[in-house]
């Protein structure tokens, strides 16, 4: 599917496919907003890189399976949906459309 997806100027390049192993995440900037892209079981997911609780950078946190933990007060989000799994955060993370094409990873702008 991904190959046929048209990458146009609504997308920003996040990085190269080879840089992102399974179970790992990378950070990219979409405009002024950091975004985390993760690969899980060959699927890509992208969520806002800023914790909705007190705005700590989630790139400092940790991904355990599908669970993304914040390094400041340990809120936990589902990286696939952005949903809060554990407080203190209450609002979900914004999710982004992400595609992989020709060895590159692209994120759709907001």
């Amino acid at each position: 599917m991904a190959e046929h997806f048209k990458v146009d100027d609504h997308f920003v390049m996040a990085g190269y496919s080879r840089e992102l192993g399974d179970g790992e995440f990378m950070t990219a900037m979409v405009g002024n907003d950091p975004v985390l892209v993760a690969r899980l079981d060959d699927k890509l997911y992208a969520v806002s890189g800023i914790c909705t609780h007190a705005f700590s950078e989630l790139a400092d946190g940790e991904l355990e399976g599908t669970r993304l933990y914040c390094a400041l007060h340990f809120a936990c989000f589902d990286i696939r949906t952005g949903q809060v799994l554990e407080g203190p955060a209450e609002k979900p993370l914004k999710t982004y459309e992400v595609i992989e094409s020709d060895g590159q990873i692209w994120i759709q702008k907001a």
């Binding site: 946190g61 400041l72 007060h73």
Partner: protein
């Protein structure tokens, strides 16, 4: 009448999280949340930080109206609990009202340690910082003052000093210890912090004891053991003490609770700042946000759960001073040696505190990356070869040799 009412005394972080946890677990009977403060529940950490530096008043309340409705908690604010009649299972308030409880949670937190016995402590423009009300008063007062003396370089004192510098006040900090932070964090970290504040223009008066406050109606001078300092306001940040006990039972630097959050009185639990609790064989007392939140939740779950779950949480706190973020994990009243990782004194790195080969605690200075891995190491008090722990090229989740 609700057959199984749960009464929570104290709507701070522990009390509020307990109430949330009860509803999350499906508890449907009455929850009565009593607090003498009219503004609760709210979050205290911002009060010494952005609350003071922002132009506006940041929102600190924990629940909006929707959440309050959804939680269906009976809030009894402006109500002070005076005692607990454990025989009749009743909470008694100073205005003579009583509430029957099926289970009771004491989450009365801490209060600012006061210097009332010092001459002049009653003068105007002498402030403490514990409640939202305190913070509002302080925020208003500092608009019109130039020179502030902060008494005590604990976390709140240090954060307030930093916030006031950030908004351009001249700040002198009087601290009785020659090197604040040293007992907790060791010499290197203490020196770094003293330096950091100096860099930002704080004037230290270290190793000095406050003797008197001078002034007619408002404070104008602080007299210490060594000097006299002119000022327009004083902020006292000499630490916190547990709120006075309202229930009988074992109380020693807080209600003594077991790993399930139970006091020695049947059906009475306690959580948060107002407790002493078991951690790796020590009875410890922790006055930090993360513990209050998790402890409150655990106690609530154990009140209604069929199989109690023991509390397991690594003590943790963070502190923001200027653009420096400090995070500390664990408990280490003493240690054999420190392991330095990265360049904590250069403004980014970590210091680990090792006793008998085990990693007991860690301080992270602008170094949040890896903190979750560090938390697992400290949770297990793992044995880690110092040369690996101190090698930033090895990720923290790979430094242990143990399984």
């Amino acid at each position: 009448m609700s057959p199984r009412p749960i009464v929570i005394v104290g709507a701070g972080l522990a009390g509020a999280n307990a109430a949330e946890a009860l509803r999350r677990q499906g508890f449907e009977d009455a929850i009565i949340l009593i607090d003498r403060d009219l503004d609760v529940p709210y979050d205290r950490p911002p009060l010494s930080k952005e609350f003071l530096t922002a132009d506006h008043e940041p929102v600190v309340r924990l629940w909006d109206d929707d959440q309050l409705t959804r939680l269906s908690v009976k809030l009894e604010l402006g109500t002070t609990v005076s005692s607990v009649d454990v025989a009749r299972k009743r909470v008694v308030t100073t205005d003579g009202r009583q509430w029957h409880y099926w289970k009771l949670l004491l989450a009365t937190g801490s209060e600012a340690r006061r210097l009332d016995t010092i001459k002049g402590a009653h003068l105007g423009n002498v402030y403490y910082l514990r409640t939202l009300q305190d913070a509002r008063q302080l925020k208003r007062a500092i608009q019109d003052v130039e020179r502030v003396v902060v008494i005590g370089a604990g976390f709140i004192g240090a954060e307030v000093a930093a916030s006031l510098r950030q908004i351009g006040k001249s700040v002198v900090v009087v601290e009785i210890l020659p090197r604040p932070f040293e007992r907790l964090w060791g010499t290197e970290a203490a020196e770094y912090l003293i330096w950091l504040h100096q860099q930002h223009g704080i004037e230290w008066r270290l190793g000095q004891k406050v003797l008197e406050f001078w002034g007619e109606s408002r404070v104008t001078h602080v007299k210490t053991s060594d000097t006299v300092i002119e000022c327009d306001a004083v902020i006292i940040g000499t630490g916190a003490v547990p709120a006075a006990p309202v229930a009988p039972g074992h109380f020693e630097k807080g209600y003594v609770v077991n790993e399930f959050g139970q006091t020695n009185i049947p059906d009475v639990y306690a959580a948060g700042d107002c407790t002493t609790w078991p951690y790796h064989g020590h009875a410890i007392h922790v006055e930090h946000w993360d513990h209050a939140k998790n402890h409150g939740r655990m106690a609530a779950e154990n009140m209604i759960g069929s199989t109690p779950r023991p509390y397991r949480n690594v003590p943790y706190f963070w502190s923001d001073q200027y653009d420096t973020r400090l995070q500390y994990l664990g408990y280490a009243p003493e240690w054999d040696f420190e392991v330095i990782r990265g360049e904590p004194q250069g403004g980014a790195g970590a210091i680990f505190y090792v006793k008998e080969g085990r990693v007991m605690a860690g301080l992270f200075i602008n170094q949040s990356k890896g903190i979750l891995a560090a938390r697992r190491i400290i949770d297990r008090q793992a044995v880690v070869p110092p040369e690996r722990l101190g090698d930033p090229s090895i990720p923290l989740n790979e430094v242990t040799c143990e399984k």
